[in-house]
Amino acid sequence: MIHSLFLVNASGDIFLEKHWKSVVSRSVCDYFFEALERATEPENVPPVIPTPHHYLINVLRHRIYFVAVIQSEVPPLFVIEFLHRVVDTFQDYFGVCTEAAIKDNVVVVYELLEEMLDNGFPLATESNILKELIKPPTILRTVVNTITGSTNVGEQLPTGQLSVVPWRRTGVKYTNNEAYFDVVEEIDAIIDKSGSTITAEIQGVVDACVKLTGMPDLTLSFMNPRLLDDVSFHPCVRFKRWEAERILSFIPPDGNFRLLSYHVSSQNLVAIPVYVKHNISFREGSSQGRFELTLGPKQTMGKAVESVLVSSQLPRGVLNANLNASQGTYTFDPVTKLLSWDVGKINPQKLPSLKGSVSLQAGAFKPDENPTINIQFKIQQLAISGLKVNRLDMYGEKYKPFKGIKYMTKAGKFQVRT
């Protein structure tokens, strides 16, 4: 299956290689570099690249290309999913997944890759199992290891590997037993020129951080599970129970994990929490264009809209922008033509606005299209779909855990066409 893996950084250097079968020369990446050159944007590199003897499947995360070398037929998603899982694991271990972090922890990276794949076939990808095999590096542990001569590598087969709950390690002990659940919803929307919604849908996830002693068995129920149109679960969730009763019943992995991701049917009208008033115009023949943006909250159920960030890819003909923000700061990159405006919190009494003019290249034609505006925002303590957790119960253990639920709404791919 997966023959080799090359990590390529943004400047096109291979900084790590790992082979699971015979060594494949790194010259195979030349085909990848060719594709990289052809692509105008880093994202435009095709994920699957055929070469005369191999196939290269790559994913781009954190500005690092993970290039897997394949020699024969294999479902491409299999490889892609695995590569993303590798990135997730690195992130889990090192906090960030950057070139520097990988280089600093090259031994752990190697040990991880060795455990995750055997002969190119995934062996252990559950973070709970991996953490028993290879302990994540911490400064304290490094010190202790150096003094005592103990190692970061587990000597026993992780119990999870063989049990019916492979995602949970055994013998978990905490003094404070806590279980936190974050319901995070993202609104994907396209708003047209006149402010009407072309398409809007809500994608949500329930992320959990569970630190409970022993083998707790949790059930989580929603007030209104019918809202959920399509769901996918962490393997720990008992599917049958959900089918029958719409209750999430599971033995959680230890630590952070994504319990559930869901989709709220687009038939339900999606509340759009912000509106944008815009007036962007370029006049034919003139080298100036007008640019006005005003943001305002709507349908936010009384919650504040925070961390608002507006970005827009201005047309190529734009030379510079001379704007005035009533709130926050804006930047314009004359090379990439990317305008971004960090608004912060929207104050309903005094709506933030960005006004001014943009200068166009002399003699350039008026751009055909006005730029689209991408908006990021966050609303705390609100799940925009109205989803509510009813209760969380724990069985199987005697102690009383501390339970917490947090709601948040974010903008996903939120675009306003102007």
């Binding site: 079968k21 015979s22 060594v23 994202e43 435009n44 095709p46 994920p47 699957v48 196939y55 994913v59 781009l60 020699q71 024969s72 037929e73 491409p76 998603l77 299999f78 892609i80 999913e81 695995f82 993303h84 600093d104 090259v106 031994v107 190697y110 040990e111 060795e114 002969n119 076939f121 490094t142 010190v143 150096t146 001569g149 190692t151 000597e155 026993q156 087969l157 590997q161 063989l162 709950v165 396209i190 398409t199 849908e201 994608q203 083998m215 399509d230 996918s232 679960f233 008992r238 599917f239 049958k240 033995i251 989709h263 047309p315 055909d368 299209e369 069985y395 199987g396 791919k413 066409r417």
Partner: protein, 1106 residues
């Protein structure tokens, strides 16, 4: 890397004084060799460093060795050569330090191929490690041994694989499965031996091994389909529990397998759905009805579809895609659409995932628009999408276009055309062209839109528009001479060669429609001929020739001039063409017979080009594969075979049962009214078997839940048995006539088996010991409290397999039950540790129901069937009252009444069974009475099959099932006749949402004890003594709600038990009269139901006088 090693080295410094000196030295070396490096030449630095490493490795201190290995691994990671350290490294292979050992392994695997002789030094270490008591060490030794690609050790590897494949630890067996592939790639001659190992491992019952061995199978011997037969059902059943990567591989393999073993479900009249399948197990009559149908799905085929379906909810995108492609290639056409939602969900994932999924959706959407049309908006393009994502989305939108949505799509396209990404804009124009040809209604609109685009400033947009317009005009040229004129006017401004060539071609082709302009254009072209691109030149020659033929008066000279220019062109194509044209059109003495036909040759009506999707033929590749993604055969692609015209023998998948423990036990417990034997499995009347299985298993659980750990071994067999019976189903249906004979056989068997049963029990005991792990688990669990035991095994149980439920359905669906059937509700099943793929839900809702005394009864083999824990019973009372569904006035003559039959519904476990009486009060016959497909409310409704014709004044009775989901919300649906539709609704009384249960009084009290607190609601009513006489209470309660009466010793308390239809939650009711009051208590988890029931009982017990 360097940073870290430096770091730990300096820790070293602090830690131990002796090593401090070395370490400091190291430190300086690192900065010299790796970081600063400028002063040293690269070579010397490398060499020197390696010397140091060698020294460190030869040192006695573990920490130094480890440090050296870490740095060597760093070198490997960077792709630097560290092979010269091999001798120094290999010495450490036997190190006690696990981390050091692992790093040495990493090194060995990387370099052993290059240093084969030295690598041999390490072999004995691995051989020793293979015998280590620690399974992790055994496994990693095998991993490394099989990974060092040294041909000399092939026999050793073979031996190790063979040994490990029988290891007790499934983890080691999994590693062995991986090793098979490695050995095969090293030495393909070992194939035959390896296949033997694969065959053995395929039989393995561990979910851990399954994925890996199937992977090995796919790599080594994908053509040996025969190895799969016996394991097919097992693989299907354990699929949910296999780790996600294994699932992908197994699903792909099973897809291929199914295409060779089952007949196509895509026949013209394959009207097959889930419901059909349920009835198909039912009574003889229905079975016969099924036989008359042209296509009946093989139960194994259905098993695969059913067991893969839950995986659509997986978080792993590859699994979801694998299931989707399985449905696409195997499911009946109307079932495929269940994968849509999940695929659309994947579009939210990473860019790369989107890319692959969109490719597959593009292929699917060509053949089946309907699947994705409701999700059209999910394919709208965002400006932030990568270009290849944008074009794929465009492709899909175009595929989805139809008359109904084309206006929406075109409006969306308008936005895209203006996109700053010009390549994308051009692709959009192509897409508009395709929409225009596909949907004739919008051809004109599209053409007009495209003509507008001709005045766009961007050249690529204009050029693309011209090309597309050219194609469109070809389909209907006559009406569009003005468009051609318009394009002629634009001609001067267009510089893109392809576009210019297209316009010229149009001029020539339709020169008769634009007789004035065409010669003028030719005149202009004659002037610029030399500076044109080649394709334009060719078209100029073309145009000249055509004009010469149609309008030679005006263009003769021009044509000759152009032909002369062409004759001396640099490009030989153009010279050739010119020579050819001249011979063809200009008459001279030499010209042959051809010139007579010149006009017919050049001006022949040409077929319009077909604008079609690039994904048109992609479906020749299996979806989800690399080949499909690339649209070319990838190495190792295994073609999906066509459906066989006749299904191969399906009995090959039957699995031999070694010990028919189940039946033995059943008879041993004295429960089996019909005992049976092995042979009977393949031939006997199956319903009885089914029932026996049920009973066998239920009694099993009761026993095992109370402490006997037999469940695992038996349930396995159970699964085999039941599978078999379902597969032999169709055979059986054809051999109904045999049934009688079989019955007599059976009776004989009964006598034979009883004596045997006791030793079998003993054997069970042994089997249970083998499975000591699970055994002890179930022991402890069942003894501990309910909540804790739920945790242990529920996940397993939940995922057990649907086949169990289905078989349940089968048994339950017999409307009249001679014997009570166990009421094992799957989702509440709790405490037992079961094997992964027991299909029979082997527990009762609350397993602790069984009292110890009951257990002793069980062991004493004296228990009668009526004493088993929870049994669904037939309703005590069936109300005759029917409710109006549709009045004849509103129904235009059609009237409908419904009543609750209080029987378990034959259509589904969670449905309430209803009887509908339809009568025709009108003058003429009503035709095609049915329930429309669209149900307006959320309930799941099983429709009755349409009544073809209802004569005037006639009436018909049909039955249907509604899943009210344990709520009294009315079910709304449309009752349709041929002409009309009436919306009607059924509102169930809360009492109808229950099914009666019988249980012993002791059980009742116990269960009640568990459902206290929140789950208990009670009320006191004042009533008359007559009303609370035991008869009247009983009557009133059972008529108000479908509950079973619990026989009671206590005179003054009346107890009733039932369960909710959908979720199967227990509902316990007790009425304790205390003159003149009475206390009604309802215990159930469903508090809403409880309060409603309470209200109902209040009225029932106060108002009604006897």
């Amino acid at each position: 890397m360097l940073g870290m090693s430096a770091n730990s080295v300096s820790y070293n410094e602090q830690g131990s004084v002796e090593s401090g000196v070395d370490a400091a030295q190291e430190n300086s070396n690192i900065s010299g060799g790796g970081g600063g490096g400028a002063a040293f030449s690269l070579f010397s630095a490398d060499c020197k460093k390696n010397e140091d490493l060698k020294e460190m490795l030869e040192n006695n201190k573990e920490s130094l060795k480890l440090e050296a290995m870490k740095r060597i691994v760093g070198l490997i990671a960077k792709g630097k050569n560290a092979s010269e350290l091999f001798p120094a490294v290999v010495k450490n292979v036997a190190s006690k330090n696990i981390e050091l050992k692992k790093l040495v392994y990493v090194y060995l695997v990387r370099y052993a191929e290059e240093q084969q002789d030295l690598a041999l030094l390490s072999i004995s270490t691995f051989q020793r490690a293979l015998k280590d008591p620690n399974q992790l060490i055994r496994a990693s030794a095998l991993r490394v041994l099989s990974s060092i690609r040294v041909p000399i050790i092939v026999p050793i590897m073979m031996l190790a694989i063979k040994e490990s494949s029988t290891d007790l630890s499934p983890y080691v067996r999994k590693t062995a499965a991986h090793a098979i592939q490695k050995l095969y790639s090293l030495d393909p001659d070992q194939k035959e031996h390896l296949i033997e190992v694969i065959e053995k491992l395929l039989k393995d019952k561990s979910t851990l091994v399954a994925g890996s061995v199937v992977m090995a199978f796919e790599e080594v011997c994908p053509d040996r389909i025969d190895l799969i037969h016996k394991n097919y059902r097992k693989l299907c059943n354990m699929l949910v529990d296999v780790e996600e990567w294994g699932q992908v591989v197994i699903i792909h393999m099973l897809t291929r397998y199914a295409r060779t073993q089952f007949v196509s479900p895509w026949g013209e009249d394959a009207v097959f759905d889930e419901n059909n399948e349920k009835t198909f197990y039912d009574s003889e009559e229905e079975r016969r009805a099924d036989e008359s149908k042209p296509y009946v799905m093989d139960p194994d085929h259905r098993l695969l579809l059913r067991n893969t379906k839950p995986l659509l909810q997986s978080r792993n995108t590859a699994v979801v895609m694998a299931v989707s492609q399985l449905y696409w290639h195997l499911a009946p056409k109307h079932e495929i659409s269940i994968v849509t939602k999940s695929l659309v969900r994947l579009l939210r994932s990473h860019r790369e995932v989107q890319y692959v999924v969109l490719q597959n959706i593009a292929t699917m959407s060509i053949q089946r628009k309907g699947m994705f049309e409701p999700f059209m908006k999910s394919f709208y393009v965002r400006s932030t999408d990568a270009t290849h994502i944008k074009t794929l989305k465009l492709e899909i939108l175009t595929n989805l276009a139809n008359e109904a949505n084309i206006s929406t799509i075109l409006r969306e396209f308008q936005t895209y055309v203006k996109s700053q990404d010009k390549a994308f804009a051009a692709a959009t124009i192509q897409a508009i062209g395709r929409c225009a040809t596909d949907i004739s209604e919008v051809t004109d609109t599209c053409l007009n839109g495209l003509v507008l685009l001709l005045s766009n400033r961007d050249e690529t947009v204009v050029a693309e528009s011209v090309v597309v317009i050219k194609k469109l005009l070809q389909t209907q040229p006559s009406q569009h001479s003005d468009i051609i004129k318009h394009m002629a006017k634009l001609f001067d401004n267009i510089t893109v060669p392809m576009a210019r060539a297209s316009i010229l071609w149009l001029m020539g082709e339709y020169c008769e429609h634009v007789p004035k302009i065409a010669p003028d254009v030719l005149r202009k072209m004659a002037k610029t001929f030399t500076s044109e691109e080649d394709i334009v030149k060719l078209q100029i020659v073309n145009l000249a020739a055509k004009l010469y033929l149609t309008n030679s008066k005006q263009t003769k000279l021009l044509t000759q001039y152009i032909l002369n220019l062409g004759k001396y062109d640099q490009n030989y194509d153009i010279r050739d063409r010119t020579r050819f044209i001249r011979q063809l059109i200009v008459p001279n003495e030499k010209s042959g017979a051809l010139s007579k036909y010149a006009r017919r040759i050049l001006m022949a009506p040409k077929p319009a080009p077909v604008l079609q999707s690039a994904f048109k033929d992609r479906d020749r590749y299996q979806l989800g594969t690399l080949s499909h993604s690339l649209n070319s055969y990838a190495t190792g692609y295994l073609e999906l075979s066509n459906w066989p015209p006749v299904a191969p023998d399906q009995s090959v998948r039957n699995v031999e049962v070694v010990e028919p423990v189940t039946e033995a036990l059943a008879s041993a417990l004295g429960k089996s009214k019909h005992a049976k034997s092995d042979e009977k499995f393949y031939s006997g009347s199956e319903e009885e078997e089914e029932e026996e299985e049920e009973e066998g298993s239920s009694s099993e659980d009761s026993s095992s839940s109370s402490g006997e750990s037999e469940s695992e071994s038996k349930s396995e067999e159970n699964s085999d048995d039941s599978n078999k019976s379902s597969s032999s189903q169709s055979e059986k249906s054809s051999s109904e006539s045999d049934t009688d004979k079989k019955k007599t056989q059976k009776n004989k068997k009964l006598h034979q088996q009883k004596p045997a049963s006791k030793d079998r029990k003993l054997k069970n005991g042994k089997a249970a010991n083998d499975e000591s792990r699970s055994g002890s688990e179930s022991d402890s669990e069942s003894s501990s409290s309910e909540s804790s035991s739920e945790s242990g095994s529920q996940s397993e149980l939940d995922s057990n397999s649907d086949s169990g439920t289905d078989q349940k359905r089968k048994t339950k669906s017999k409307p009249v039950q001679s014997k009570p059937v166990t009421n094992a509700e799957k989702k509440e099943v709790s405490l037992l540790d079961l094997d992964d793929f027991s299909p029979v839900p082997v527990s009762t809702p609350k397993s602790s129901i069984l009292s110890p005394s009951l257990l002793s009864d069980l062991q004493g083999l004296s228990i009668s069937s009526s004493a088993s824990a929870l049994q669904a019973s037939s309703p005590v009372f069936v109300p005759e009252t029917s409710h109006e569904l549709l009045h004849r006035m509103t129904g235009k003559g059609l009237s409908a009444q419904y009543r609750f039959t209080r029987q378990p519904c034959i259509y589904g476990n969670s449905m309430v069974s209803l009887q509908l009486t339809l009568s025709n009060n009108s003058e003429q016959a009503l035709e095609n009475i049915h329930i429309s497909e669209k149900s307006s409310s959320g309930q799941n409704i099983h429709r009755f099959s349409a009544i073809e014709r209802l004569e005037p004044q006639a009436s018909a009775t049909v039955s249907m099932g509604v899943d009210f989901n344990d709520s009294t919300q009315a079910a709304h649906f449309q009752l349709c006749t041929k002409e009309d539709e009436f919306s009607v609704s059924i509102q169930p009384a809360v009492g109808e949402l229950l099914l009666p249960i019988t249980m012993s009084e002791a059980d009742f009290t116990k269960e009640q004890g568990k459902l206290v607190g929140m789950n208990e609601s009670s009320a006191t009513i004042t009533t008359t003594p007559e009303n609370i006489s035991s008869q009247s209470v009983n009557r009133n309660v059972v008529s108000a709600a479908n509950l079973g009466v619990i026989p009671s010793n206590q005179e003054n308390i009346h107890r009733f038990a039932g369960k909710t239809v959908s979720s199967g939650s227990l509902v316990l009711v007790s009425v304790a009269p205390k003159d003149p009051d009475a206390l009604i208590t309802v215990n159930t988890e469903k508090s809403v139901i409880a309060s409603m029931l309470l209200r109902q009982f209040k009225t029932a017990l106060t108002n009604i006088t006897p």
